[in-house]
Symmetry: C2
Subunit: 410 residues, 2 copies
């Protein structure tokens, strides 16, 4: 998923078009990864190519809407030759990110700047729902989001709260009550796009932490991401990419057993983490309606309401037990709390840290870190769009055309 | 760790010696991976090179003791040209594998056939021991093992029951009571060898399952390996290599919490898996001396002795809870029970499988598999020696000398 960067490869007699494609990808990756908009000269240096070659590649990327050029900065000293314009991520191409939760369907369109250009949500109660109806609603909001954006939408990706296989089939989403759903066969087409690539919502939400904007690495490359809504999803990120495991189903933290004698879970097991720290479980434990918002529970706990405070403490202990297992097994001691867990992040942190410190064998050498994810509405849908844009960044030549030119590396 | 194989790379003007080193490695890897001893012709085919080139490389490997040539098999049809002798792993080079447990130190010398050419063990009670004394005993048994073997020992590797860093320091081994031990500074030198490379005992024991002999892949490339002695170690193997995590400390399954209200563990936590399924915990729960052997507990349980049967069942449940967390988080549904857990493997399997099936979200699509590791005394030491031999297999040119020749790929 992370776009590759590095030195452009040199010309070969075999496939000049292929070389151009690789070099386009490297220049684009370098431009997106730069902390501030670089000049053509800086991109040439960063990718180890000549200024002339870099400049030609930049011209193509600008023409394709993948980069944008800003006016020369009059305040900075300029070298000889062409004025030092700066290059920013382009707004000419975008991707559609989709998500289905138990209480809403959502569509966002984001571009390479990371900006959400359009966002539509339809709420509902989708527990025990029929996939046909819900994916129909999703296609509607997707169509509305796309209609608002003046950019070429290059692809779509869908975040689902369950385990998916490599062929676009949702195998199981306990909270929706869905099993074996072939998304492409069920979901109506959206605006002529191919059926969305299907992924796990936590893996895709984690993309927004690995990459706060498409192609721009964030602070952490190794972390455990906990998303939360009705259930709790997880993603173990190593070197910026989600750990996949044997079949791509790694990261199901919500179903780690916290107490084998604990309450029944929709998955068929008992005492799963989400029966303590899921949104609904928290609400019930706090003595509120099952649909109560976590922000209300957090407020009540801060106000000293005993049932709410006890529910939050119980969630903190359960998170500590499940996450200490994760850190002992995968050795990734940075925890990022997202979704509804953001709302109680500061409340659970002391107990969670204390539990991790006591239960993780290596805690003395790598003290656990617990962070709250940045505020990011519809993180899974936004991450899905970023992931789709990363596929474009890895091969921009696909979009610009693999034109063969007479110049070796342009 | 797995030796690479594939097509030899062609000659370049840049570094003929480097090309030769790579091609030596590929021919050796192909010979070791072959299910039956291949001919020179078969190795040429397997590595996509000419018979003349393959034959030259084989000559060098035979001369260096890395391969051995057997007489032509008169029973098989022969092609034209040189007789079809068969090539087997060589016995001319070997590696020293070492292990420290709470009740013994051990040294083995194995060669490329996988055979243990020498094995020495000294028993003791090393709980709360001084590293200097124990590593001194280890150097003694190592020296005795090496003295027995007529082969060049190319390196040494040491398996320790704890977490180690990348610089040869044991950070923590709870059952030994050791912390922050710089092995090279404490252990006396053995027979002029450099200080051993230091690794985790479960990661190294798992090598014998990934590779039943050096360079020969086993049945499973993705599995969770549980070693067991006083404590329980673990290794998550993906694509034949142990999952390392952020610092190389992944796989600490023995300290996954099974019951937060459970018994105290030497690590400072409570209710860790090894307090239910460790050798000592099993013995105590069965009403026997703490040092009772697991085979005796297994016999008593099979004979219907209630305390022994209950202890084994409690271990099975604890293994099920901890391993379902592992499979949910890393998606590797094949479990291999080694160490003392081999002795109770058939007794724990039903409850363990039932628990995994109920608690692993993806169990319906990837039914969990529980296997007992092959009988393999001193598996960690043997795996350590194999790992050291794998380092040799990855670069046999280092041993044979990077001689530059006039022929491009020989």
């Amino acid at each position: 998923m992370p776009p590759s960067s590095g030195r452009p490869i040199g010309p070969t007699a075999v496939d000049v078009g292929g070389v151009r494609a690789v070099n386009l990808a490297r220049v684009l990756a370098a431009a997106l990864a730069a902390p501030t908009p670089p000049t053509r000269a800086a991109l040439a240096t960063a990718t180890g190519t000549t200024r002339a070659t870099a400049s030609r590649l930049v011209d193509d990327l600008v023409a394709g809407g993948l980069l944008e050029e800003s006016a020369p900065d009059a305040g900075l000293p300029r070298g000889p030759g062409r004025p030092g314009t700066h290059l920013s991520p382009g707004r000419g191409v975008a991707a559609l990110g989709l998500q289905v939760d138990v209480d809403r369907v959502a569509a966002v369109v984001t571009d390479l700047t990371g900006a959400v250009r359009a966002s539509h949500v339809t709420e509902g109660d989708f527990r025990g729902s029929r996939p046909e109806g819900v994916l129909g609603l999703l296609a509607d909001v997707a169509g509305r989001a796309i209609a608002e954006v003046d950019a070429t939408v290059v692809g779509a990706r869908l975040a689902l709260p369950g385990i998916v296989d490599g062929r676009g089939v949702l195998l199981r989403a306990p909270n929706l009550g869905w099993s074996d759903v072939a998304v492409a066969a069920v979901m109506p087409p959206v605006d002529g796009l191919p059926a969305p690539v299907v992924g796990n919502e936590a893996d895709l939400g984690a993309v927004t932490v690995s990459y706060p904007a498409p192609g721009r690495p964030g602070e952490h490359a190794d972390f455990v991401y906990l998303s939360g809504a009705a259930g709790i999803g997880g993603s173990v990120v190593l070197d910026g990419a989600p750990l996949r495991g044997r079949h791509g189903w790694a990261g199901e933290l919500g179903h780690v057993t916290v107490d084998p004698d604990g309450p029944d879970c929709a998955c068929g097991s008992t005492g799963c983490l989400e029966q303590y720290a899921g949104m609904r479980a928290l609400a019930v434990a706090a003595g509120l309606e099952p649909t109560a918002r976590t922000s209300d529970i957090a407020r009540a706990a801060r106000d000293g309401e005993p049932a709410a405070a006890a529910a939050v403490e119980r969630a903190a202990e359960a998170l500590g037990i499940a996450l200490s297992a994760v850190v002992n097994v995968v050795d990734v001691p940075v925890i990022v709390l997202a979704g509804h867990l953001r709302e109680i992040g500061d409340l659970v942190r002391p107990t969670l840290l204390e539990t991790l410190t006591r239960r993780v064998l290596s805690a003395r050498w790598a003290p656990p870190v617990v962070e709250v994810a940045p505020q990011r509405p519809l993180a899974a849908a936004v991450g899905a769009a970023y992931a789709e844009l990363h596929a474009l960044v890895a091969d921009p030549g696909r979009r610009l055309g693999r034109r063969r030119t007479a110049t070796p590396a342009g």
